[in-house]
Point group: C2
């Protein structure tokens, strides 16, 4: 299956022309993002918690402390919504009304399970680590038994998802193009700055190449 | 009141030392962010929708299409969770376990109402516009009656909120400082790139100063 079925749950309603349901588009957004926002319902109250994530085929991995209320809730099999947003720019039109935002976002729904098998858990941690900081897994100290024990990893099966994308210049109503107002976009980019060494870094350890290329 | 009361709802549990409850800290994060993630519950299902926002004293303004399911839900007075995350960097430790993220996040809860009074609604639109793109309100065409009519603005009263902040270098366990592993941070910044004029921009309209300084 290369597309998610369009249902009442994932259908993009407002500006429906911006909706996308194919996995390629959706997964590229998930893979580019460093953080997601995870929504759950507890006692009827919505909670939205930021998290890092990784994608493993049709699954999303989330991890954190064994004490995490969010992860316990997900592990119990409740419905979860994960939203990812890449902000690409501010769109400045000639009218206030037609101001907009360029963005790529994904809203996905799924249910999770805790990864308990030790080998599968270690593999999931490697996937998370390499998703966020490629190259680190092989050079750092791996989790020991105590650390594994206080870490929870959950795997969410994506049941439904859609992306919403806006790109390009402002679109004004015809008459407004006559107005002497500057219009265009302010592109926005998430920039990774040069690595900053830990003040406690021992002498003689160079900045690794995989960071320079990040 | 300069602080939000710490309750079961807003209490930062995991890494509680990173929790903040004072309005100054919380509002600075809200004010710096360009987008938020809004969580609601419909038929027991969590939905998390990205949105732009503005803060007006102890209230959050959200706006969008009159057809927006999210805004209708908020206007009906249901509980809402708004989460804002500023990602400041990746924290690379000597062990996988102590890898982390530098961030400033806010999770707030409230209930909303629709702004229906025309004058109050126009004022709220100005607040939103100036929050996101200072300087635009005075130079662009203001919303006309038809545009006002198809725009919904809701005002959320913040009932409860907390911030969670991590800064600084990695913190490793003592023995790991002996490892020959590079450690430090990769700072991340949201960067506004130079303005890109609309291809349809009329000749002779210069890029305004308020954009150069954004």
């Amino acid at each position: 299956m290369s597309k998610f079925e369009k249902t009442e749950k994932n259908r993009v309603r407002t500006a429906a022309r911006r909706g996308h349901y194919d996995k390629k588009t959706i997964y590229e957004i998930i893979d580019e993002a460093l953080i997601c926002h995870v929504g759950i319902v507890e006692d009827g109250v919505p909670f939205v918690i930021p998290s890092i994530h990784a994608r493993n085929e049709d699954k999303i991995l989330l991890h954190g402390s064994k004490a995490s209320r969010l992860l316990k809730h997900i592990a119990a099999g409740h419905q979860v919504c994960v939203t990812i947003t890449l902000l690409d720019g501010l769109v400045l039109a000639r009218s206030i009304f037609n101001h907009s935002i360029n963005y790529r976002s994904v809203v996905l729904f799924g249910t999770g399970r805790m990864i308990e098998d030790e080998q599968e858990k270690m593999q999931a941690l490697e996937t998370l680590s390499e998703f966020i900081t490629p190259g680190r897994w092989d050079v750092t100290r791996k989790p020991n038994a105590k650390e594994m024990n206080i870490t929870t990893i959950v795997e969410l099966s994506i049941d439904s998802a859609s992306a919403k994308i806006r790109t390009g210049p402002p679109v004004d109503v015809k008459a407004d193009y006559e107005l002497p107002v500057w219009a265009g976009t302010l592109p926005i980019q998430q920039q990774i700055l040069p690595p900053v060494a830990d003040p406690k870094l021992a002498d003689g350890i160079p900045t690794p190449d995989y960071l320079a290329d990040y």
